[in-house]
Structures are given as structure tokens and as C-alpha cells.
């Protein structure tokens, strides 16, 4: 199961390449460079040095005793919120920046929802001396204004996208359009395990360090594997990063928490694995929120980073194979979990990550006491203070 995808990027019926022919040459070049890099000691040493001495890896595994007591489980947090730039996104971006350099390209572009991937890309661009453009839905530039300023301070150009729903989906469309026109000098650093092959595999390979570290740390700490590994899923990169090393550990349940928005039954959500159907969006086949005509549906989530109608193809495969299970977590439950974590552990997590904490709370209630859970605390909540303050009527 971990041997997938095949040479053309398929996990069963999922993945592949559904893009204009103009991008195929660049995707081939990227796939070749990635393959070479993974077997190149110099590349791996450079990436390792950046991860340790720039990004601050390995990130800690923190036992959340008071939160665990509150939900009735033994809980360990994989602290991606402590990585440089404040989320797991830096893991992927440092890898892609090194590939960009190897391909001789001088400009990187990115899409961003919550702004975490945009900030990580702008950071790597500053570090490597690349020109950087970040596409962000105009609605998201409003709800994540702090991250827009961070990107600009780092020297990136942020372009608000005003088409369609003005969120992550439309920012992704616009980044693809830029890439088609500028592919000779520009690398598109996709921020999640989505898009045409090789992106879902490549981003996973750079994110799997989350699970590799977490597995080693939990074994060292308690001498056994956890009963469950839980992460939030938008495109699915932190979840795939946490899950991948555990896929062959059959005793570890893998649980992905999608944005349930106002509730799955209301239709106002972003939970394609929970209630969507297979289709093609942004270059790959996966689960998707779509209507009877194959048109992409509008999504809703309080979390800009999860407000996306698609999901990575490897998650679609894990779902169909029943190796991972996915559930929708409502805005209300996520915000309650955010508050609980803040008050029991002194950790203000990103609203995206709060969906994983709420999912863990529900899973613990269903599975009885004394279970061991590893949760990916994928990002910190500084960017969300405004949204949270409004939610809790503090402003």
C-alpha cells in the first residue's frame, strides 16, 4: 500500500494528471528532479540541515495531560506549530525550494488559503533569493490579513483573486494560469498533497517527516504505538505527513477531520471525503464536492485553510481501502476544542488544527478511556486571534 503511486501518479483510480499539455514538460522535469534528489546524499544532507537548523526540527511530542484528562484519553501533540513560520507548511516548502534551485528556476509561486503556505513560501523565497508571488482569494486576504502583511514583509507579492468564490480553490486556478505562462523560469510550489503528479507524492515525501518523528518519539516515550493518529484535512498535507509512516502499522487507526462547517446535513461545509464523490479538480482525480453536472460546489468553513472542495488523491485511496477514516467536524465543535486546548494546555492552535482536537475528543468518547492518541497540532493560532475573538464575542 505504501508502494503507491504507480509511475504515472495513480493510487488505484485516483491521482494522475489532468492538466493542459503545456504543463506536462514541467511536471516531467519536476518528477525526474525529485526522483534524483531522493537518492542524492548531498540533497538529503542539505534538506536535513535546513530542517534542523533553520526550521527547528525535530518538533517536540508534547503530552497534553490536562487536555487528555478532559477528553478521557492519553494525548500526545506533534508540535508542528513550533516549526519556523508556525506550521508544518515549511517542511514541504524547504524541499521544493531546493528542487527549484536544482532546476535552475528563479521564481516561485504559490496558492494559499489561511496564508500559512504563502508565508512558508515567501520565507523560503527570501532565504534562497527567489522572486515570489502568492495568490490568495480576496475573501481570505480579509480574514487572514495578518498573514498577508507577513508575506509582504518577507518580500513576496500577494495577488488577491477576485474570481469565483474568492477562496483557496480560485487562488489555485490563478496559480496554475501563472504557471502555464511562466513555466520556464517559475516553479509552482503547491502547498498540499493535491494537484497533478508528481505533486501529491512529492509533497507527501517532504511531509512524512511528521509521522517518522512522531512514531519514533512515541515509541521512545511509552514503548508502544498509539491507538489513533488524528489530523485535520483540507488538501490533506499535514494528515498525510502524519499518517504515512503509520500506514503499515495496522493497529494504529488513522483519522482525518474535515471541515464540517455548519454541519454536513446543511450542505455548508468542506468535507469531500465525508460526503463528496470522485471527480477531477486541479489536475487529479479524487473525492470532490460537485453537483450533478460535475461543477465544483461552493464550500464553507470557519477555517480558511480547510475551505477547499477537493482533497489529495492518496486520502481518497486510503478512504476507499478503509485504511483511514474521515469525519466532518463542525465550526462549533472545532472552536470549542480550540478553547479547551488553550485553557488546559496553554496552546492556542490554528483553527485548522482545532478540527483535529475536536475529532480526537469525539473519537475518545466513542472508544473508551485509556486510549493513546497522537494529534497533529499542525499550526499555531496567532493568525486566527481576530476570527476567534469574534467567535467568542471578545471584540
Amino acid at each position: 500500500m505504501t508502494a503507491l503511486p504507480d509511475a504515472a501518479g495513480h493510487w488505484g483510480p485516483y491521482g494522475g494528471r489532468f492538466v493542459p499539455e503545456a504543463l506536462i514538460a514541467a511536471l516531467d522535469q519536476l518528477a525526474e528532479e525529485h526522483e534524483r534528489a531522493l537518492h542524492d546524499e548531498a540533497f538529503l544532507a542539505e534538506l536535513d540541515d535546513l530542517q534542523r537548523n533553520y526550521a527547528g526540527r525535530p518538533t517536540p511530542l508534547t503530552e497534553a495531560k490536562r487536555f487528555g484528562a478532559a477528553i478521557g484519553a492519553r494525548v500526545f501533540l506533534k508540535r508542528e506549530d513550533l516549526a519556523h513560520t508556525g506550521s508544518h507548511k515549511i517542511n514541504n516548502v524547504l524541499g521544493q525550494a531546493l528542487l527549484t534551485k536544482r532546476m535552475g528556476k528563479t521564481r516561485v509561486i504559490a496558492e494559499t488559503g489561511a496564508g500559512q503556505h504563502g508565508v512558508a513560501t515567501a520565507t523560503a523565497a527570501a532565504l534562497f533569493g527567489f522572486e515570489c508571488t502568492v495568490y490568495m482569494g480576496e475573501e481570505d486576504t480579509r480574514r487572514q490579513a495578518l498573514n498577508v502583511a507577513r508575506m509582504q514583509l518577507l518580500g513576496a507579492e500577494v495577488i488577491p483573486v477576485t474570481t469565483g468564490t474568492q477562496t483557496l480553490k480560485d487562488a489555485t486556478n490563478e496559480a496554475f494560469r501563472d504557471w502555464v505562462a511562466n513555466v520556464e523560469t517559475t516553479h509552482y510550489a503547491i502547498g498540499s498533497v493535491v494537484g497533478p503528479h508528481p505533486f501529491p507524492m512529492l509533497v507527501r515525501d517532504f511531509q512524512r517527516i511528521i509521522g517518522v518523528e512522531a512514531r519514533g518519539q512515541i515509541l521512545e516515550r511509552i514503548g508502544r504505538l498509539p491507538d489513533a493518529a488524528i489530523a485535520c484535512v483540507g488538501g490533506g498535507s499535514n494528515a498525510m505527513g502524519l499518517f504515512h509512516r503509520f500506514i503499515t502499522d495496522a493497529e494504529v487507526q488513522l483519522i482525518g477531520c474535515e471541515a464540517g462547517g455548519d454541519g454536513i446535513e446543511t450542505g455548508r461545509h468542506a468535507a469531500p471525503l465525508t460526503i463528496g464523490s470522485p471527480g477531477v479538480l486541479h489536475g487529479a482525480r479524487s473525492y470532490l464536492m460537485q453537483d450533478d453536472d460535475g461543477q465544483t460546489l461552493d464550500t464553507h468553513s470557519i477555517s480558511a485553510g480547510l475551505d477547499y472542495p477537493g482533497v489529495g488523491p492518496e486520502h481518497a485511496w486510503l478512504r476507499d481501502e478503509h485504511r483511514a477514516v474521515y469525519r466532518g467536524v463542525t465550526d462549533t465543535d472545532a472552536m470549542a476544542a480550540l478553547e479547551l486546548l488553550a485553557r488546559t494546555e496553554g496552546i492556542l492552535c490554528a483553527i485548522e488544527s482545532a478540527h483535529a482536537f475536536a475529532g480526537a475528543q469525539q473519537w475518545a468518547a466513542e472508544n473508551g478511556p485509556d486510549k493513546v492518541i497522537v494529534i497533529s497540532c499542525s499550526g499555531r493560532g496567532d493568525k486566527d486571534v481576530d476570527t476567534a475573538a469574534r467567535w467568542f464575542s471578545l471584540l
Binding site: A8, G16, R17, F18, V19, P20, E21, A22, L23, I24, A25, A26, T163, G164, K169, N173, F176, R177, V180, A181, N182, V183, E184, G279, V280, L281, H282, G283, R285, L288, Q290, D292, D293, G294, Q295, T296
Partner: protein, 260 residues
């Protein structure tokens, strides 16, 4: 022999390029879009690309993005596309131009059946490459529809060969690396691409992206078998209705007969 094969036999005998025009169904509403497609044929368009509106048109520039967005908001459905094909194909051969997901959702088999029943001749699928097209190729060939793929200046010879062996009707050569939209000049990479493509196929090769007037059409007609115009027609429809569409078609039609 499909209607597209017959068309190119005629234009080649006449020593000219064919004129291909695109408009999306439902912009600004379904009846007006169909009337504009027929006006395009009256003005001299030889083959109509009937556009399937899609929420995420990844290779389209602002003009077409705005038009399809309006079409979808006005309630345009895939069923309207088959209505348009039925009406348009009474006047000239028609192919659909559609992103892959709406075809996959309906299933390639049903889409091909309904397209054939409506009198369509084939489909251009801008985000589908031959390697992912298995079920569509089976369905299209079963119904004698032409599957039409894109090639780009970045396409390697190996990839041109794959398209050459898979494609039917005519090959769609994207003149430039970029999205749809009118441009002041048509990229000179188009001519080189057409020449490279001809080493891998005897099919006609059409050039699209960036053509908006008779002079540009004449230039492209100097080396390509078809001149493909999209955004300029959408803009004409937006600014001046079906009459403007007809006038633009007349100008372009004169261009493909002139040759630069």
C-alpha cells in the same frame, strides 16, 4: 469520414485555412449564445466550438472566465450544451470544448452518446491528455466522434507523437505558453510547433490562443490548416451582440482566405 474530415478536404482543395470559432453556451443566456453561434456561421465560421461552461476553467484568461461564470450563475446546465450542438450542427459541424470533469461526471459513454445524438462531431478536452483518456477514446470512437487534444510549444517530440497517434479530426496547437485571450501578436512559436506536429501526423493542425482579427488570421493561415478564435468572439458578443459576432467572423473569414 466525419464532417470534420470533409470540412478539411474542402478547405484544402480551396487552398485556404478553416475558420473555427468558440463561444460558451449560456453567455449571456442560452438562446442568445446559440443565436450568436449561428451568426458566427453566417459570417463565415466553418466549425463551431460549443463551449461547456465550467466552474474552474484553468486554461482560460479573464474574458472567458467572466463569461462562463455568468453563464453558470444564470443556470446553464450541461443539458443546454447538447441543445446548442443540435441547433448549431444544422448549419455547420460542431464540436464541444469542455474541461474533463463535467464529461467524467456524466460518464464518457453517456456524454458521447448524447453528443452524437445531438449531431456533434467531436470534443476538444483542454485538460485531458491522451494517457488519461482511455474511457473517453473508447466512447468517442464507438460513436465516430473525433477526440481532439492540445499540443503546446513545450511539448516534446515524444508527446507530439502520442497526440498524433491518438487524435482524430484536427490537432489543436496552442500558439503560446499561456491562457486564452486576445494578444497583439500571435507568438512565432506557433509556426515552429505546427511544423514539428506535421512530422507526427497527416491530420490538419489548427492554431489557437491570441488570434483576434483578420490580419492575424491571415498570418496564421499561412502555415496552419485552421485558425481558432475564442476570446475575441466572446468580447464581440459582450460588446455588440450577435451582429458584432457576425462582423468579426466576416473579417476573420476574409483573413483565412487571404494568407499573409
Amino acid at each position: 469520414m466525419t464532417r470534420i474530415d470533409e470540412l478539411f478536404t474542402t478547405t484544402r482543395a480551396a487552398g485556404r485555412a478553416a475558420l473555427v470559432g468558440y463561444l460558451p453556451v449560456g453567455f449571456p443566456d442560452v438562446p442568445t449564445s446559440i443565436a450568436a453561434m449561428i451568426a458566427m456561421i453566417d459570417g463565415g465560421v466553418d466549425l463551431v466550438e460549443v463551449g461547456v461552461p465550467y466552474t474552474d476553467p484553468g486554461i482560460d484568461g479573464p474574458v472567458i472566465q467572466v463569461a462562463v461564470d455568468l453563464a453558470l450563475r444564470a443556470g446553464t446546465r450541461v443539458a443546454h450544451v447538447f441543445e446548442a450542438v443540435e441547433q448549431v450542427s444544422a448549419h455547420a459541424p460542431a464540436v464541444v470544448m469542455g474541461y474533463w470533469n463535467p464529461i467524467e461526471k456524466l460518464t464518457p459513454k453517456v456524454f458521447a452518446q448524447r453528443l452524437k445524438d445531438a449531431g456533434g462531431s467531436g470534443a476538444i478536452t483542454p485538460d485531458l491528455i491522451p494517457e488519461e483518456a482511455g474511457p473517453w477514446l473508447d466512447a468517442a470512437l464507438q460513436h465516430d466522434l473525433d477526440p481532439i487534444f492540445l499540443v503546446a510549444p513545450s511539448s516534446t517530440d515524444a508527446r507530439l507523437d502520442v497526440v498524433g497517434r491518438t487524435n482524430r479530426g484536427f490537432v489543436y496547437a496552442a500558439s503560446t505558453m499561456g491562457v486564452t485571450g486576445t494578444r497583439d501578436t500571435v507568438s512565432n512559436r506557433a509556426e515552429e510547433l505546427v511544423a514539428r506536429m506535421r512530422q507526427h501526423t497527416t491530420l490538419p493542425v489548427g492554431v489557437g490562443l491570441g488570434v483576434s482579427n483578420g490580419a492575424q488570421a491571415a498570418e496564421v493561415a499561412g502555415y496552419a490548416d485552421a485558425v481558432i478564435v475564442g476570446s475575441a468572439f466572446v468580447r464581440a458578443l459582450q460588446d455588440g451582440g450577435a451582429d458584432a459576432v457576425r462582423r468579426l467572423a466576416e473579417d476573420l473569414s476574409e483573413g483565412v482566405r487571404r494568407k499573409a
